[in-house]
């Protein structure tokens, strides 16, 4: 039935087009009307079979066209039913060209535009989905980094606490050093006072030794004078002895008369001898005294020299002590500055510790935010997947 009616007409439509076929159909219709009119008006000029043939052609065409149109509509309905809303590609429309071309073109054009909107949305969703994945990865990296940052900040906080303890220790030590330097300063000051006293004593010793040396020199002069006098006495004793000898000689010449005088002369001689011996003894002793005096004088010179050297030594010690005093003063002042700085550093480290704590809190908050961002991006991705 289908092959008998539809197929030939389909071939003709393919060949000449649907409009031409319809025109042909109308022509047949008009011919039938014309034939009918001819039969009525001029029955002798036309065969009675003509109308029957025409009606048969019209019937054939009508049945064929109805069948074709029905098939086309069924096919069209089938196409519309089988539309894939996801892919929405107009190129998949397999519509035969039996229906008017303009109608089909309009349909495919609309379908194409819808497909484009669909494709555009799919492209956008695909890009959003891809971007969401990148955001998830980034948020994940941020979370990891924030965790690392948090760990590092915790370690920093611990280090700062340790540093704070160390600074307290340093502060204590600095206080000890400060009191030690103060003691050193006081001791140096005390030492300088003692050295000053020592210098005064040494000056006194030097002065006394000088005075003693002068006295000894005077004593030596006097001893020399005594020695000279004793030597004069020795000369007088020698002259006396010579005179006594002359008197003895003269007494001998006088004989008996001179006997008494001889005794006197002998006595004088003995006396001069004793005077000479005494004077000699004095000279010897005075010389011993002079020798001792010289030794003492030498010793006193040594004492003066030693005391002068001691004084010079004391001066050097005094200078050193002064330098020590200045140095310890300087150290004390610097330690004061250091102590102040350490105190400031302690305050600063405490403040840093507080800020680090804030940073840790911030890092935790950031980690939370990054997690939230990751969750939102995951949600976004899932939405695009649902939509896609």
């Amino acid at each position: 039935m289908y092959q008998l009616f539809s197929l030939p007409i389909q071939k003709i439509i393919h060949f000449v087009g649907f409009k031409a076929m319809l025109s042909f159909y109308l022509c047949v219709l008009l011919t039938i009307i014309a034939t009918q009119m001819m039969i009525v008006n001029f029955p002798e000029k036309i065969s009675t079979h003509a109308l029957s043939i025409e009606l048969a052609i019209l019937l054939y065409l009508s049945v064929a066209l109805v069948m074709i149109i029905n098939t086309e509509l069924q096919s069209f309905k089938q196409i519309l039913c089988s539309l894939n809303a996801d892919t929405f590609d107009y190129r998949e429309l397999k519509i035969s060209n039996l229906l008017p071309a303009s109608l089909l073109e309009q349909l495919t054009s609309s379908y194409r535009e819808l497909g484009r909107v669909n494709d555009k949305n799919k492209d956008k969703l695909s890009e959003v989905s891809y971007s969401a994945i990148q955001v998830i990865n980034t948020a994940h990296s941020v979370t990891e980094n924030v965790q690392k940052q948090s760990d590092a900040t915790n370690a920093t906080a611990a280090a700062i606490t340790e540093m704070s303890v160390s600074l307290n220790e340093v502060n204590t030590r600095i206080s000890g050093v400060h009191s030690s330097s103060e003691n050193a300063f006081n001791t140096a000051e005390q030492g300088r006072l003692s050295i000053a006293e020592l210098q005064a004593s040494l000056e006194k010793v030097a002065f006394e030794a000088g005075t003693t040396a002068n006295d000894i020199e005077l004593l030596m002069t006097l001893a020399n004078t005594v020695a000279e006098i004793s030597e004069s006495i020795q000369g007088i004793a020698d002259q006396t002895n010579l005179l006594a000898l002359n008197a003895s000689i003269e007494a001998a010449r006088a004989g008996e008369f001179g006997r008494g005088f001889a005794v006197v002369a002998d006595e004088v001689r003995a006396l001069s001898h004793r005077s000479y011996t005494a004077a000699d003894s004095i000279v010897k002793n005075v010389r011993s005294v002079i020798n001792q005096g010289n030794k003492i004088s030498l010793s006193m010179s040594n004492v003066v020299e030693q005391s002068t050297q001691c004084k010079q030594g004391a001066d050097v010690v005094d200078q050193s002590l002064q330098q020590i005093e200045e140095a310890t003063f300087d150290v004390r002042e610097k330690i004061k500055t250091v102590a102040y700085n350490v105190e400031q550093q302690t305050l600063a480290t405490n403040e840093i510790a507080e800020h680090v704590e804030l940073v840790v809190q911030g890092a935790r908050a950031n980690a939370e935010v990054a997690k939230q961002a990751e969750t939102v991006a995951t949600h976004l991705k899932s939405l695009t997947q649902i939509a896609g």
Partner: protein, 278 residues
Amino acid sequence: MEIYIIILLLIILFSVWLHHYKTKQQKTLCVQGLDNITHIKLLISAIQTHRGLSSALLNGDQSKQVVLATIEQQVKSEIKYLEEQHTLDKNGRWGSFTDHWGRLKQHDKARDADNSFKQHTQLIANLLYLLEDEAERGHLNAGSFPKLPNIGFVWRELVVTTEIIGQSRAIGTGVATSKTCSSVHKIRLSFLQQNMQKTINSTLPKLSSLDRFTGEHKALLKIAKLKMQFLSSTIERELISAEKISINQDEYFALATDSIKALDSIFNHQIEQIQQII
């Protein structure tokens, strides 16, 4: 009875003439459509080049001004040719394109790089749709060319792939000029690179050819695939993952242009095949 025979003969003659007329009309439509498509494709290529060079210029490479003027001249002559045909007048996209291009050309140098990129991309998207519309209007589809069942891929997927590479060329040229790749650029480049890979794996193998063109067709596909893969790996290595961007913008531009040219060769080869059929 004779009259019926005469009528039947007349009908047959009229049908033959009608069929011949329709076939001729169809052929004219195809030729016209193909000619329009060829020029629209040239226009797309010129605007893609204009986009890449504008990106370099707006990122600080002043040497591109002269070349841009040449490209603008090329666009102007293509527009003039297509306007003279009067076949695109009924399509609203054409009017939209000429209006948009006029505004873009006037103010492009005053824009920032991102805005210029967006405007050009919108313009190209419009032309891509116009190209497909023109293919449909000229009945350049699988229905008319049963020997090329996937001809529709040429008018959409193939030119869209060219556009993907064109976008990566424009973004990459800007990045190579400024030597900085922002996270947004990284995501965009990465996304385009992913699309490029999809095209290599799914679109290119779907393109069909006439039997006698198969060898040449396969060779062109192989070249395009290799060039796209090299471009894709260069984008990854030199722009996305590189700590310091060292690739020269001209070198990158030439590399991307090479890939576009490889796809254009496939496009022209397909056109040649259709011309053979017509």
